[in-house]
């Protein structure tokens, strides 16, 4: 699960980032000292889990939740229980009191993981994409890779290409994360279609070569089963 941390206290931020790095199924993407920076990041990037401090200057955690729509699950840091009830209206799955123990952190993360895997399992094998003015059915298992082209994404299958007005972030949120992975700012691949990786370049579908972005390299290698 890709995650970010929004926390103004440097000490607490380092603690949480350390916990994330210790946890196998969490992939740390970025940390932010304020929610405004995070909003800007989330306009272009998709994450699965947000660790969010409530008490921050400029934009509080609650203001962030109210103003920003995201599919990401949220774990709050707060000792203000009065926020808890309201917070659960916003995809908040748990709240932690600082300083957080690793055991408590893991309890919250396991809740997030359960929700994440449930969403993945419930995902349909088919999606409808709007090509020009027609909605066309695409079987997700047939998708090889998806590439960004300005305001469009091109969905590549064995049979054909679908050019759709959409963003990478939007398309990522509609695909099961256990099967697909973003490997570059402008490329998403289906993991089981990888035939080989050579020197930072993925070969997919027998002949298509896709470069792995520098910031995605570590995550790609972590997701592959290697001997």
């Amino acid at each position: 699960m890709n995650c970010i941390v929004i926390e103004d206290s440097e000490v607490q931020r380092k603690l949480i980032c350390h916990y994330i790095e210790k946890t196998d199924y969490l992939t740390f993407k970025r940390d932010f000292v304020d929610a405004v920076q995070a909003v800007s990041y989330l306009r272009n990037e998709s994450v699965d889990l947000i660790f969010l401090d409530i008490s921050m200057p400029v934009m509080s955690g609650m203001e962030f939740l109210k103003s920003f729509e995201s599919d990401a699950q949220v774990i709050l840091f707060t000792s203000h229980e009065e926020y808890a009830l309201e917070a659960f209206e916003y995809n908040v799955i748990d709240y932690l009191v600082k300083p957080v123990s690793y055991a408590r952190f893991m309890k919250a993360v396991n809740k997030a993981r359960a929700g994440f895997e449930k969403n993945d399992n419930e995902a349909s094998d088919e999606i409808f994409v709007k090509v020009n003015s027609v909605f066309e059915k695409v079987n997700i298992t047939e998708i090889l890779w998806i590439e960004a082209l300005a305001d469009y994404v091109i969905i590549n299958t064995d049979e054909r290409k679908y050019t759709v007005l959409s963003s990478m972030k939007s398309i990522t949120s509609k695909l099961p994360s256990k099967d697909f992975m973003r490997v570059h700012r402008s490329s998403i691949i289906r993991l089981d279609k990888i035939s080989k990786i050579d020197n930072g370049v993925i070969e997919i579908g027998g002949n298509k070569l896709i470069a792995i972005g520098r910031s995605y390299k570590k995550e790609v290698m972590e997701r592959l089963v290697t001997i």
Partner: protein, 119 residues
């Protein structure tokens, strides 16, 4: 008053969190040392101005950091402030409170700097 044996800090939590990663523990202590002085000055300024809403907010930020370093004396004080409505904070916090708080931090800084050498 500090006695010969009394320590203000306790690194049990950090050691548990660090799980043998000494560099990480040192990094956290150094981060605490580098940010806390500014926090104390800000807290004192807010006390002098009688801005209890912001004073409470600042104390709330400082609480988990002090707790992470095992400074339980400050944790208790911050917890009391946290539970008071802003209008009552001024009755709880006095000049003596601020002086004592600064003293506890000063002693804690000395202890932590020593701890870093022997970690």
């Amino acid at each position: 008053m500090k006695t010969e044996t009394k320590k203000y800090t306790d690194l049990t939590y950090l050691r548990e969190v660090g799980d043998g990663d000494t560099d990480f523990i040192i990094d956290l202590i150094q981060t605490f040392l580098s940010v806390t002085l500014a926090h104390i000055l800000e807290l004192e300024r807010l006390f002098n101005e009688g801005d209890w809403v912001e004073f409470k907010r600042m104390a709330h930020i400082m609480k988990p950091n002090a707790e992470s370093m095992g400074i339980m004396e400050l944790k208790e004080a911050y917890l009391k402030i946290d539970n008071l409505p802003p209008n009552d904070v001024g009755m709880f916090v006095s000049q003596e409170f601020i002086t004592n708080l600064k003293q506890v931090y000063t002693e804690s800084f000395i202890e932590l700097e020593q701890d870093i050498k022997y970690l």
